[in-house]
């Protein structure tokens, strides 16, 4: 139906390290908890803007949060 993404992420690990709950991080980046859950499970690829918001909120570089495999 939709093309599966090869992008993976470590949002959950960095969020828990930062001591934030899903509700707290979701509120800070302006999305619902369901959307944050979908991102963490790899079921939704956030927009570039949302990815930057997560990066800034967790004070973590984008490259550490989101990964794309080499060919």
């Amino acid at each position: 139906m939709t093309k599966p993404t090869r992008v993976t992420n470590s949002v959950r690990e960095f969020r828990t390290s930062a001591g934030l709950t899903q509700i707290e991080l979701a509120a800070r980046i302006g999305v619902t908890r369901q959307t944050l859950i979908a991102i963490e499970k790899g079921k939704y690829s956030p927009s570039l803007e949302m990815a930057f918001q997560i990066s800034r909120t967790l004070d973590t570089p984008l490259e550490d949060l989101f990964h794309y495999p080499d060919e």
Binding site: M1, P4, G30, T32, R33, T35, K41, Y44, S45
Partner: protein, 144 residues
Amino acid sequence: MGYAERNTWAQVISSIIAAAVYAVVLIPRLRTQTAHEVQWVQPMLWTIVASIVASIVLSIGIGIVAGMINPDTEHRADLRDQEIDRFGNRIGQAFLIAGSLGALTLTMVRADWFWIGNTLFAGFILFTVVGGIARLIAYRRGFQ
């Protein structure tokens, strides 16, 4: 389950029930009357109104139950919901167009209004149901 997904469930369920009730009312009439004689306008209008009302009531009901189960339940849509909504509309549009083309063809061959009206109605129902199911699959299986 998020706010927009709950609303999608309500919309799909109410549309399927409404279409089924309409079919149950209309089909027996077609067995005893010609298409020209069948009274379909009133049942269709009632079906449309009932479907809209049922969708709103069901959506509110599911929202209340979800709020009782989990007080942190959110009552707003976000960017992902908007993207999934657009995706569902894109899938459903094919049926809306097919219904419109079917009705246009029937008009050209001067078919009875019964068939023209019901072909358009079928297009709307399929737009809602198929588009809604596509949204629900996107919510459950993931949306990239």
